[in-house]
Symmetry: C2
Subunit: 368 residues, 2 copies
C-alpha cells in the first residue's frame, strides 16, 4: 500500500485530507517510536515520526531501513539541535556529587558516559543521504543552509516552537511548517528555552498567536488526546495536529510495561514540568525522583549532562520495577489514554473528530 | 430592550444561541467590571459579570442597582469564597518586614488595613436579597445549602474549577455549571489551590477532561481572545466561554490608563504566574515587582494578608505612573487585545466565530 506524499502547503494539505489525515504521531525518544509504530501510523493514514535525537548514526540508519522494509515511504525523523557537548569537569563533578545519594541508594557506582550526546551534524548527514521525506527539529534553530540542503534532497522541514518568536524564527529560516508545542505536552519542551523561568504558553494562547503571526502551516501539539482536541486545534488555525501521549499505549510502541501500567491504572496521577531527569524542562508523571530533585532544581546541570548522569539510575529503577525513579513522560491529558493498535487509535481519532464537527455545526451557525 | 433569561441547561442553552451568545465577560476585581461594562455586554447579547469579591455589601448593592438602572436584567455577580480572615500577628509582622524596603522606596509608612477582606457571608446575603440572576464563585467550594438557598431565590450558580476534581466537587454540590479555568487565564486562579506547586492545567487538557467528567455545562476560560478560541472551546465540549482579558481595553471597563497602555503598546510583554501581589497565584504582565518578590516567594503570606499589605504600594505606583509596581493582570494571549466598545468587541467575536466555523467545515468533513 502506498500513500500520497506529505505536502505541507496549506491548501494542498487540506486537499489531501481525504487520504492523509492531518495527524502526526509525535517523535518520542528512548525507543518509544519503534519502526513498527511509525509504519503502522503511516499505514493508517497519519504521519509517523521516528525519534532520532538519542540514536547513533548507525542505529538511525537501521531504523529507517526497517521502516522502509515495512513498506512505509512517508514518515518523519526528529533530530535534537544541540550545541557542542559541554565538557566542563567542574559541572560534571558537582552534578555527580548531587546525585551521589541516589547512586548509593541504587547500589551503583557513578560511571561517566562514553559520549554525552549524539552529534546533530552526523545525524543530519544520515537524513540527507537517506533522503528522508520529513525532518523535524527540536531544542534549537538550524541555519538556513541546513534547511536548503534538506530541501535540495526533497525533504520537508518542520521546526518546533513554544513561543511566537521561535515560530517566526523558523519561518524566517525557511522551514515548511512549525510545530507549536503548548505547555500541556508530555516529554521535553521542544523550543529554544533551557530553563523553567520563561513564560510557558498553554495551547489555547500559543496557537491563537502563532497562527496569527506566521504564514507557514502550524502543527498543534500539547494535550491533544481525542477528536475534540483535534477539532479545537483546527478551529484555532492549525493545519495539522501532533499527538504523542495518545500513542504511548499503542500496541506497537516501545513503552516500558511499568510506564504503560502507570498510565492505564493511575489516571489521576499529576504531571510535573521538571529538569530533574535530563537538565532540560520536560513533563512527566510526578514521582519521588522529581520531588526530591525539585529541592535543588537551580543546581541541576544542563542537558545532556544531567540526562547522561541519571540514565543508569533510571535504568536501575526500571529493572527494579520502581516507577518512582523512572522518567515517565506524559502530557497533561494522559488520563484520556487508550490502549489499542495504532490503526485503531487513529480510526477512533478520525471518527471522533467527524462526530465533534457534526455536533458543533449548529452551534457554530448560531443565529444564521 | 430585554433579553431571554440565561438558562444553563445545555440544550436550552444551545436553543437560545441565536439571541444570547454563549459568551461571558469574566468578573475582574478592582473596579474593572463597571456597571456600564456589565450592562453593555448584556445589551450586546452576551452575559456581563460584576466582580464583587472586594466590594463591601453596600458597594455591591449600589453597583447592582446601577446595572439594573441601565436596563440590564441578566447579569452575573462573582464572589470570593474565603475562610475567616487570618489575624496571626506574627504572619503580618513578617510580611511587613519583607515589604519594608518597598515601603521605604515608595516613601510610605506601612498602615494596617481596616479590614483584611470582605465577608463572603455578608455578600451572599446581598445576592440573595437582591435576587441576582447568576452568582459565580471562585477560590473555594460553597456548601450545598448555599446553592439551595440561591436556587430558591431563582439564582443560577456557577462554580470555578482548575482541575477535574474541583469540577466534580461543584457538580456534586449542585452547581448549575462549572467554569473550567486554564492556566492561560489572566488574574487569580479561581480554583481551590492556594499555591503554585500543584499541576497547572492548560485549557486544551483541562477542557477535554472536565467535559468528559461532568454532566453539567462547562464554561471555558483561559487564553480565549477571538473567534478561533471560542470555536475551539465549543469543539472541546464547552457550552460557553468566559473572556476577561478580551474586555480589559473595552471603552466601558474601569481599567487604569497605564494598564491599557501597557496592554496596547507592549504586546510582546510576557506574563507570569505570581503570588507577589496578593498571596494567591495570579497571572499578570511580568514586571519589576513580580521579579523582585519571586526571590522569596515561599515567604509571602497567603491571601488576603499580602493583598492588603501591597495595596498601598500598588496605589502609589499607579499614582507615580510606574507600571512596574502595579498588578496588571492579563492572560497569556493578551497580545491579541482590542480597544473598542464592549458591543463592538462582542460583534467581532461573533463574526469571527462564524467565519472560523465556515472555514473549518470542509476540514472537519475530511473524506466524507
Amino acid at each position: 500500500m502506498s500513500f500520497p506524499p506529505l505536502d505541507l502547503n496549506p491548501s494542498e494539505f487540506a486537499r489531501q485530507l481525504g487520504g492523509l489525515y492531518p495527524i502526526i504521531q509525535a517523535p518520542m525518544a528512548g525507543g518509544i517510536t519503534t519502526p513498527a509504530l511509525v509504519a503502522a501510523v503511516s499505514r493508517a493514514g497519519a504521519l509517523g515520526s521516528l525519534a532520532c535525537g538519542m540514536l547513533t548514526p548507525q542505529a538511525m540508519r537501521e531504523k529507517i531501513a526497517e521502516i522502509r522494509a515495512l513498506g512505509c515511504q512517508d514518515f518523519s525523523v526528529n533530530l535534537f539541535v544541540l550545541d557542542d557537548v559541554p565538557t566542563d569537569d567542574a559541572v560534571v563533578a558537582a552534578a555527580l556529587k548531587r546525585l551521589a545519594p541516589f547512586y548509593a541508594a541504587a547500589g551503583l557506582a557513578p560511571v561517566l558516559p562514553k559520549s554525552w550526546a549524539q552529534s546533530t551534524q552526523a545525524q543530519l548527514e544520515v537524513a540527507l543521504e537517506l533522503r528522508v521525506p520529513v525532518v523535524s527539529f527540536t531544542f534549537d534553530l538550524v541555519d538556513r543552509d541546513v534547511i536548503k540542503a534538506l530541501h535540495a534532497r526533497g525533504t520537508r522541514v518542520i521546526g518546533t516552537a513554544t513561543t511566537v518568536d521561535e515560530a517566526l524564527a523558523w519561518e524566517e529560516a525557511g522551514a515548511d511548517a512549525v510545530c507549536a508545542q503548548g505547555i500541556e505536552a508530555g516529554g521535553h519542551r521542544g523550543g529554544f528555552s533551557r530553563n523553567l523561568g520563561q513564560e510557558q504558553l498553554g495551547c489555547m494562547a500559543l496557537l491563537a498567536q502563532v497562527c496569527a503571526a506566521v504564514g507557514i502551516p502550524v502543527i498543534a501539539a500539547g494535550g491533544i488526546m481525542d477528536g475534540g482536541g483535534i477539532a479545537a486545534c483546527l478551529a484555532l488555525g492549525a493545519t495539522a495536529v501532533q499527538l504523542g501521549t495518545a500513542f504511548l499505549c499503542a500496541d506497537e510502541a516501545g513503552t516500558h510495561p511499568l510506564w504503560r501500567q502507570q498510565l492505564l491504572n493511575h489516571r489521576a496521577c499529576e504531571t510535573a514540568l521538571t529538569v530533574a531527569f535530563s537538565g532540560r524542562p520536560a513533563r512527566g508523571l510526578r514521582n519521588r525522583f522529581i520531588d526530591e530533585l525539585a529541592l535543588y532544581a537551580s543546581e541541576i546541570p544542563p542537558y545532556p549532562v544531567q540526562n547522561a548522569l541519571t540514565a543508569p539510575l533510571r535504568a536501575q529503577a526500571a529493572l527494579k520495577g520502581d516507577w518512582e525513579g523512572m522518567s515517565l513522560w506524559a502530557g497533561q491529558a494522559h488520563a484520556l489514554i487508550r490502549s489499542a493498535s495504532a490503526a485503531e487509535i487513529i480510526r477512533q481519532l478520525v471518527a471522533q473528530t467527524r462526530e465533534v464537527a457534526a455536533k458543533n455545526r449548529p452551534l457554530y451557525g448560531w443565529s444564521d
